[in-house]
Amino acid sequence: MLRFNSFNPIAQLIYFTAVLLVSMFTWNYIILLLSLLGAAAYCVLQKGFKVFLKSFFGYALIFLLVTVTNPLFSHKGVTPLVFINDIPITLESIVYGAVLGLMLLSVILWFSVFNSVFDSEKLIYIFGRMLPRLALLFSMVLHFVPKFISVFKRTLSAQSDFYGKNKFRQYIGAFSSSVSVMLEGSVQTADSMSSRGYGVKKRSFYSRFPFTKADALFLVLTLALLTGVLTAQITGQLDFMIYPRIILCDFSPVSMLGIADFGTLSFMPFIIELKEELVWKYSLSKI
């Protein structure tokens, strides 16, 4: 099995950096749309359509908010659609807001993919040698939040009738006791770590992430595709203008290549996962 999840963390980190950098700094609606679709497709394949749709509604609200607020504050552009109190609402500022919202949406989605792929073990694998203490601290902090939530939920359900019907007092009580549980836990962790000899000697590492040929191929492909996008970006082939008049980006061979490259790049996790799903499906015994 070769899931996207099981690639070497370094290759994955470089992949995510490439996609996020391009999504954040390329001001091109096609690139952003492809980025959004790539992330969404991977999320759907991983979590299922219904779960994805639920979280997507919240993100789509951000998109709508940006699209609606930008024309309220910016009145640039040559095509006024409507005048409200003698102030024009222009088509250009709505489009600007929409592109900005699209960028936010795609970056948020990519970060959610990043979160689901990158666990604390991978973080320690990458940063453990360079910054061992910081990496350990960071992974412990990351661990703290979900643990606190689960402790809080358990406390709340155990104390459900403790404070009568007053919901506020219920939550405050549960909060206070879960904080003390977590503090106690951290003291125990510290004790346990020092009794096992943490900090006595330099730490040795065991990692279960070999760098295989598939990783090398993935990395080379990522960098090659990134170069294609960056070439199109640096030569200005991906530029498009909103103010004062919308001028769509022109489709030259270089820009087409850049867009195709980025499309492949953003759909790569999806393609890898889909291929594995299909292989798995067809290799099942038919008996």
Binding site: K76, V78, V82, I84
Partner: protein, 169 residues
């Protein structure tokens, strides 16, 4: 739940009642005032022509060849109209884009006809003069007299290139 909904509906309706919504045609074609004071308004950006290398890319097509965005035009205004009123009325009658910041006496002109402050270098922006004198107040605090000549000029050098050098006072 019901009260919350009611409050929301009330807020939305009150906001909508405070707004006048007009289509661009209605806005541009509403007839100008018949009587009142008469002033001459002109808008000029010829300083950009000497600094084309600093102009934001994409704006080249929006600078007129002679730099005249609005040639001197008679505008009829109310008795106590300000320089800002003259500009906004002139822009409306000639279908020019206009964006400003602030309200009341603090109105600051950001851009006219898609030419904005900082569009042509870090020292660029719009200034105005009345009868060839640059007032040191905002354009919505300057009351116009009958027969005044109001010029809105684009500067690329903090006023030095249009005869209003900034002395730091």
């Amino acid at each position: 739940m019901k009260t919350k909904l009611l409050i929301l509906v009330l807020i939305v309706t009150s906001v909508l009642c405070g707004c006048s919504v007009q289509s661009p045609e209605d806005y541009y074609d509403s007839s100008p005032l018949k009587d009142g004071i008469e002033v001459i308004v002109s808008i000029n950006c010829s300083t950009v022509l000497n600094n084309m290398d600093m102009l934001e890319s994409g704006l080249e097509g929006y600078v007129p060849n002679d730099g005249v965005i609005l040639k001197p035009t008679y505008i009829t205004l109310n008795e106590n109209a300000t320089a800002y009123d003259a500009l906004s009325e002139a822009c409306r009658q000639n279908k020019l884009q206009l964006e400003y910041q602030g309200t009341g006496a603090d109105i600051y002109i950001e851009g006219i006809a898609n030419l904005y402050e900082f569009s042509c270098g870090q020292l660029s922006g719009w200034e105005y003069c009345v009868n060839d004198v640059f007032p040191s107040v905002g354009c919505n605090s300057y009351d116009l007299q009958d027969g005044d000549t109001v010029k809105f000029l684009y500067t690329c050098d903090l006023g030095a290139d249009i005869g209003n050098e900034f002395t730091g006072e």
